[in-house]
């Protein structure tokens, strides 16, 4: 069930980014889309990781591993948005 929710969230996220790129006329190359998809998949992996630890009852593991991998996901998100999806803000 949780996997389905994650999947839906990721799909909505991707569609949202695609629509933003289209509406703002952002020129996003194929490799930037590839990086975006990898980031989305990675974020899904982190959420599944946290879920797995919680199901197992390993709350500290959920916190620590979720913290480490989640932090990396946030850093990647900031970089991605700064240099891909918001880079053209000044040109808008």
């Amino acid at each position: 069930m949780f996997s389905i929710i994650i999947g839906i969230c990721l799909a909505i996220g991707f569609v949202g980014l695609y629509n933003r790129a289209k509406s703002k006329n952002l020129k996003i190359s194929w490799w930037q889309w590839a990086v975006t998809i990898i980031w989305l998949l990675y974020t899904g992996f982190v959420l599944k990781l946290i879920e797995g630890f919680i199901i197992e009852g390993a709350l500290r593991a959920a916190l620590v591993m979720g913290g480490i991998f989640g932090f990396l996901s946030i850093v990647a998100a900031v970089l991605l948005f700064r240099f891909v999806f918001f880079k053209s803000l000044s040109h808008e």
Binding site: L49, F53, I55, A58, R60, V64
Partner: protein, 451 residues
Amino acid sequence: MSKNEIQRREFLKRMGIGSIALGAGLGIPKVLAETDNGFLVENKEQYGMTPVELLSGKEFPYQIKPDILKNMPNRMTVFSRDGWDPVRREERKKVREAQGGRSMFQINMIDKKGKSPNQTRLDYALMQASWATAHMDPFYNWETQSYSIKQLAEFGKWDPSDNDLSWEEASVALKHASLFYGASLAGIAKYNPLWVYDEYIHAQEGSNRKLIPENISNVIALAFEEDYDGICNSPGRLASAATGDGYSRMAVTAHKVAEFIRALGYQAIPAGNGTALSIPIAIDAGLGELGRNGLLVTPKYGPRVRIAKVFTDMPLVPDPPIRFGVKEFCDSCMICAKDCPSGSISVDEQTWEGKSVSNSNGAKKWYIQPEPCNDYNGFSCSNCKRNCPFNKPNNSWIHKLIRDNINLKSKALDKIMVKMDAASGYGVEVQASEFWEKDGKASITSRDPQA
């Protein structure tokens, strides 16, 4: 013909597994790749989520020096020595003196009135009851006492072809029966007299002990998963309860497996810790590898198992030994050695001989010091099982991912995983109160059909 199919055929040919067994789908692992020493396979029932390398003969999981390796005398094991050796008597006296002349039972149940955490009357009760059938002699009888078994045995030796089975399939059926009777894992090894205690293999003057008959050809190694939550309470009493429960199940199941074999007209000698060294037999039978903590580490349950065995003259087909990166991981890990409260686990490289007279020398391994191990905490400690990174519940994809990485045998990766394991809070002592607050579902995953 696809590459996978070729690998599968080659696998069956090299491992000696008949094509009929494949057709029947009896315990045949999924081949992932061919390696230099055999095949990398997956088999959820036997290995859990761990990919395992089946060794086809060129390599073996351990090395021995035949000039050093001799049959270990049973009386030299630390458990036996506690009964007769004056050195051990003195050592145990010192331990008792350090405890103010009181046993752990007296300290916990009388002096502290059963109020110490993890040492309450409830915890003691679970522990004592769990050992109920562990050492009952009838279970380890060398002959059947049952009229109905004798009646079946009188039909002579069973031939698998009567049931349209080959010996390969009969071997799978025997392992299936072992699991049915309560074993968590089962494997078959070719009988190696070197692992038998000296007293059971060489006639001792004045002894009326029975010797292992010469026609014995195979050993069925049985592993019994211990309760995860119980072991995680170590050195609390619940860990000893998990241990005792393992011993009790060993006795009952080994007895039933032996009776099953006898009913088919063959000889069967069940054994718990006695008669022979269990760990090398289990390694020979492909149940796991030897860890730094001196224990069998299985792919499915890690070191959290007890081992029984049944010697037989039934012409079974032995299983290949396996490897899944334990030696390489233990080289880097050290958690068990650093955390061992009695300092019994080696922090050094593997050697050919140990420092204790209770070590069985001649195999290249990490030798533990059994005396301080045995004396610690009133014989109730499973810390080296509790904190071993291989000791994990067996139903999570996360641990599968980690075990896939362990199989890469990379020192750098292993070190990172050890650090992540410690940071994640695995291996720490879980309070008995948490155990008792659970909903009553035992955490032995082999009892859970979903696991």
